[in-house]
């Protein structure tokens, strides 16, 4: 599998570390309550198909990416810098 880093170009996925579903960007407010925090930390849509994930380009530029990908076919649709997704 190869991921299109917006800064470095197409790179083998061994350069990156998977960091979970991109819902991790949507951190609840500290007082949002147990349900919201349980949902944020533990529960996952876990789709069989298109998904959005965080990947860390540790062996490259060090950027955090939001990668759009298909979990069944492993097709990669694109990647953006996480800092631009979440301002």
């Amino acid at each position: 599998m190869r991921l299109p880093c917006p800064l470095c170009g197409s790179r083998d996925h061994r350069e990156f570390t998977y960091q979970g579903a991109a819902v991790m960007l949507d951190r609840p407010a500290p007082d949002a309550g147990a349900e919201a925090w349980d949902s944020y930390v533990h529960l996952r849509d876990n789709p069989a198909g298109a998904t959005r994930e965080l990947w860390y380009h540790g062996a490259g530029c060090g950027a955090w990416l939001v990668v759009a990908r298909d979990t069944v076919t492993h097709a990669v649709f694109g990647a953006e810098l996480a800092r631009q997704v979440r301002r």
């Binding site: 599998m1 190869r2 197409s10 083998d12 076919t73 492993h74 097709a75 990669v76």
Partner: protein, 538 residues
């Protein structure tokens, strides 16, 4: 035996080797299998379950029978295909899965108990008394397991890994792959051509047909020479592409020094990770055996393999040869054997309307329904004529062909399923099973040389246009364009055991028993009988 003056390798130079301690000799260009055949060795191994005596079946990496251990001490490599291992001076090979010797194997007694050792028998017994499983039954089963043995010492040899990148990866260097590589390379693309053999050419090395008025093998050598002169081409011989992975990533294993007596500073093997923007699957096809009683006897061989031994290596398993099959390859094989001075005892074609191909005994609408002989090989075959009458013919070898299966394996690595092609009686790849990869030539079910050449040009041009490069106007060289004419023939009914999986000893009866017990899903069938789970993948 050696066919004096035949074949394409030079037998004037001599290489000494040993098989089971016996001193033998071959020639540069021999595989271990062709050298054994040159020396008249017909018994080369024992099967997994019944310890049946087995001979050489094929001439390639698909070999199920001729597995040997090469080398000594911690250097030794078990389960080496004698049909792939190139001969070198001083090579030491020993047979496997037999005790005390290949000729006298105690566990051959298993064959006598075959009625009790059918598919899945071990799931139904060995349960009482309970402690006997650990103390008695399982140790006995484990002692009988496996084929070759690891030494147990640390592997002292050197290996290497490497990366490569290219525009077009061509997998297989037969007529289709050579033309695809040549077309893409002339169009300016960076090309890697991988072929598992020591030289590209595929079936062209083994057949007698001509391309552009010259022998196919010479044509392949000429194209190979042109590719070697091009800076944008990397020709990787002795390199098998082992896997197709996501986004154009391929694994490939190069046998760098396994054909050398002393590798020196070179690694034995190198594992390549190749990233390609496009790929052309030109991996050819594998010939199918026919299931008939006694089809596993030494001396029964694939027809295409026998043509290869005769035409390329100039050796044969015997003087009197019968040919059996369901397509035009019967006549093609008989023709090549006769041209090499062998006696074609019979050409047996299951098709009632099969045309007589030459001056030999012609048996249309007939099948082979039995074989006779000892552990050293075939002595006779029994033929059933259309009316049911049987005749027995003395012969030293039988060439069989059940048609060809395109090598679709790599196309399936990302989970895609091939489709059934009734006309070819085979599975062929669907487009897009591996994104960026096109199957072409025999791998796509196009079996004539002309179709392979034209398909290779088209695939090369398709890759060029996908890369944004201009297509090349290349005329396909002139070559045979015979239609692929076969009639499906999966098994010959009758008494006796007919092998489907030679190495794992799976017969037609085992598959029928599995179905009788409702292991009818193909996955259940495979797992219950172990059909297709041996080193040759069935």
């Amino acid at each position: 035996m050696i066919l004096a003056g035949k074949g394409r390798i030079d037998r004037s130079a001599r290489l000494d080797f040993r098989f089971d301690g016996r001193a033998l000799s071959g020639a540069p260009g021999d595989t271990l299998a062709s050298a054994l055949m040159a020396n008249g060795v017909t018994l080369v191994g024992r099967s997994f379950k019944y310890h049946r005596p087995r001979g050489i079946l094929t001439a390639g990496s698909e070999e199920p029978n001729a597995l040997v251990t090469v080398g000594q001490g911690a250097h030794r490599a078990p389960n080496t295909r004698a049909t792939v291992q190139e001969l070198f001076d001083g090579l030491e090979a020993v047979s496997q899965n037999r005790w005390p010797s290949l000729r006298w194997d105690v566990l051959a007694v298993n064959d006598l108990a075959a009625p009790f050792f059918g598919a899945g028998f071990y799931y139904k017994t060995f349960m009482w008394p309970r402690r006997f499983w650990k103390a008695v039954y399982e140790p006995a089963i484990r002692r009988a397991a496996g084929l070759g043995a690891l030494d147990g010492g640390h592997n002292p040899d050197r290996y290497e890994r490497a990366f490569a990148f290219c525009d077009v990866l061509v997998i297989g260097g037969g007529p289709a792959g050579l033309m695809a590589a040549l077309t893409a390379a002339r169009g300016g693309a960076d090309v890697i051509l991988c072929d598992e053999a020591p030289e590209p050419g595929g079936r062209l090395r083994f057949e007698t047909g001509e391309i552009d008025g010259m022998p196919g093998a010479d044509w392949a050598a000429q194209v190979t020479a042109e590719l070697r002169t091009m800076d944008n081409v990397r020709l990787m011989t002795r390199t098998a592409v082992t896997g197709a992975h996501d986004d154009g990533t391929y694994g490939a294993l190069e046998r760098v020094a396994l054909h050398l007596r002393d590798p020196g500073a070179a690694p034995l093997e190198c594992f390549w990770r190749i990233v390609a923007r496009r790929a052309v699957l030109a991996a050819g096809a594998l010939e199918r055996p026919v299931a008939f009683a006694g089809n596993d006897r030494p001396g029964v061989m694939m027809a295409g393999a026998l043509r290869a031994y005769v035409n390329h290596w100039g050796v044969a398993p015997g003087r009197r040869v019968a040919v059996f099959g369901n397509g035009d390859d019967v006549a093609r094989t008989a023709h090549d054997l006769a041209a090499a001075g062998l006696e074609v005892v019979a050409a047996i074609d299951s098709r009632p309307d099969a045309a007589r191909g030459g001056d030999w005994a012609h048996h249309p609408g007939s099948v082979v329904c039995g074989t006779a002989g000892g552990r050293d090989g075939l002595e006779a075959v029994t033929i059933r004529k259309p009316g049911g009458e049987t005749i027995r013919l003395a012969c030293d070898a039988l060439a069989m062909t059940g048609g060809w299966n395109p090598s679709v394996h790599l196309a399936c690595h990302l989970g895609g399923r091939p489709q059934w092609d009734a006309a070819r009686a085979a599975f062929v790849p669907r487009p897009g099973m591996v994104p960026g990869m096109d199957a072409v030539g025999a791998a796509a079910g196009d079996f004539s040389t002309a179709a392979c050449l034209a398909g290779g040009i088209a695939a090369g041009n398709a890759a060029l246009s996908a890369l944004g490069r201009a297509a090349q106007a290349i005329d396909a060289p002139a070559a045979e364009d015979a239609p692929y004419a076969i009639a499906p023939l999966w098994s010959v009914p009758g008494k006796g055991r007919a092998w489907l999986d030679f190495q794992n000893d799976v017969t037609v009866k085992d598959v029928l028993l599995a179905a009788q017990e409702n292991y009818a899903s193909v996955e259940h069938m495979k797992r219950y009988t172990t059909q297709g789970m041996a080193t040759d993948q069935g």
